[in-house]
Symmetry: none
Subunit: 205 residues, 4 copies
């Protein structure tokens, strides 16, 4: 890695601005429409200056990947998992996703673009795959806890169930369920599908 563990260098407001411009450009036109010159324009600098900060386009894309990872991890960590009951934890995860879709949809779009690009670009895969694994693990952990305490079905396979949970989120992205009610309807069904009968009696899922 060319970057120190967590954040960009202090002086690098520039790098942050570049990453932000790149991300918004990826949202608008996809990776195939990403042009260094346009990024420089949006940041308000010369291309030569852009290349002074980031030597190559590959490095630029890695910068974006890094910035995505930073944001993703920050969001994942925001809410404490300890102590809360599993159903609530899952609810938080789902709500977070919904909020991101509403308030910061470009995060998901860029993630999707990068995920696809990771297939042909190992340097991106290095960032994306751990994020996905981490995501799956978090959900699987919640499900496992929920099975243990009887919140979720006893026959629920946490590893597999996590893909189901994640799948609904993916589907809502791919099928553009931007309408909150539509998303709610899908999430409600997801919960009915995994909670135990006991939980169903006591909640309104």
């Amino acid at each position: 890695m060319t970057h120190p563990p967590s954040k960009y260098q202090p002086t690098d407001d520039r790098k942050r601005a570049i990453a932000a411009a790149a991300r918004s450009l990826i949202v608008e036109k996809g990776f195939e429409g990403l042009r260094t010159r346009e990024i420089a324009d949006r940041v308000g600098i010369n291309i030569a200056t852009l290349h002074y900060h980031i030597p190559t386009k590959e490095a630029l894309i890695e910068l974006v990947a890094q910035s995505m990872k930073d944001d993703f991890m920050a969001q994942s960590m925001r809410h404490p998992r300890t102590g809360l009951p599993p159903l609530e934890q899952l609810q938080i995860k789902v709500d977070q996703h919904r909020e991101t879709r509403r308030d910061n949809p470009e995060l998901l779009l860029v993630m999707e673009e990068m995920g696809r690009r990771a297939r042909h670009d190992e340097s991106i895969a290095r960032y994306i795959n751990p994020m996905r694994a981490f995501w799956h693990q978090q959900v699987a952990d919640i499900l496992e806890a929920g099975v243990a305490d009887g919140t979720f079905r006893a026959d629920l396979d946490p590893w597999a169930g996590a893909y189901m949970v994640i799948g609904v989120m993916l589907a809502s992205s791919v099928f553009r369920l931007d309408d909150p009610e539509a998303l709610d309807r899908a999430v409600s069904e997801l919960l009915r599908a995994i909670v135990s009968d006991r939980t169903k009696e006591h909640s309104n899922v």
Copy 2:
């Protein structure tokens, strides 16, 4: 030179070959790596010849979209839906997806690429969106029939459940669950999540 097949082919054959070459190239390098010259090389023709058959790159991409739609529809229609019990119908759908992933994975990869590109390219969206809607509808119909005859949970929402089913397929693509056992495990959980208790008693889900 790569011209073993033959010179002077009718346009329709050439178009088929061009679409095939384009698809495999999209699989390998993504849309952003699609070059007309490389397609021509793979087909074994001159670029000018390529342009003789397909005037512009946009037309080429539409050709690919059309070919995808043709394949998708052909596959969707292959198995009869009438008469079979819902669980079996769903099983067939899932198996089909699994088989496609195994025998013809490029179909799914190209579909994913096109789906993403559809976001910025209306001419692609015109092909992709109907396919997705059709896919969702087919699954929802099966679920609805299964709820009606008691195969699936009485409280299953077919519309939402369809996204759950599709979501698992999407997740298996995105997370690359290429191992058949892993896929089985995910599918088994999916079925447990939607079948009724009565069905659970009588089958081995």
Copy 3:
């Protein structure tokens, strides 16, 4: 020359049609916009067929040049010069030009295009230059006869005066004096400039 003295070959309705299509295309888009394919389209034949009749584009342009020359000579010869008084002969020349501008303006446009092209293309110059020389000679002859019989100024230099006459026609093309009255006004001035005082007294120039 590849062509027999005067006309195209008998069977060559095709050649005539090709020349006509080429000429109208030159009018619309200039030489730089002349495309063999488009000519073929207008004639209603395949490009390969076009090339069967006319081997190269250069030959095509020569064909056009030849057809121009044929038309030009035919028009120049249409009216008898013998016997008529010089003023009337000049009037006829001018009227002919006016009629051509009105009824067949493309003839003049193509001529202008070819004249320009002749500068860089010797094979065209071979056709164009004789036509121009002939044109000038015809006018100079008329003027000379008019000076001899007192119709035109005694100090009129027929050779130079011919350029003046021709110049007005050129200017009316270049400045697009398409309005008949405007053209009349220019021609009237031209006549006043060359006729003798005696003629002025007896006519209404």
Copy 4:
């Protein structure tokens, strides 16, 4: 390579050099033979550099049109019109044209090419038409003054006469009267055609 002058020139200098190269190329090969790559070669720069300074070929042609207009206006304004007698003013105009033909013939050739192109290209017409109108107006003004002060024929129509004057210049271009004596002969006739008898007595026209 043809790079003797120097690398890294300011845009304005480059643009001037590009316009000059384009003009000489138009003279040699006509508009249809104008190739961006060849212009770049003559200027001694890379094609990409050419496009850095002038984005498109269309813009290049407009640049040429602009440079033509600049030169034309500069020349038209060089000699003062105020105070001089009309005959002398006209003489200056004609001499200027003769000089241009001798010292800078490419100016006239490019002008002719542009005039022709203006027929199919509105963006050129915007430059050419005003220049022509200005030219005609200047000559007409001189003639009008000459009629008023008795230098020219009392029955001379300045508007029409201007086309006659211009026509002789056009004819000398089209018929390539490059020989100074030939041009003189034509101009002398032109003057005889428009000056009054009184003027004829006092001058040697």
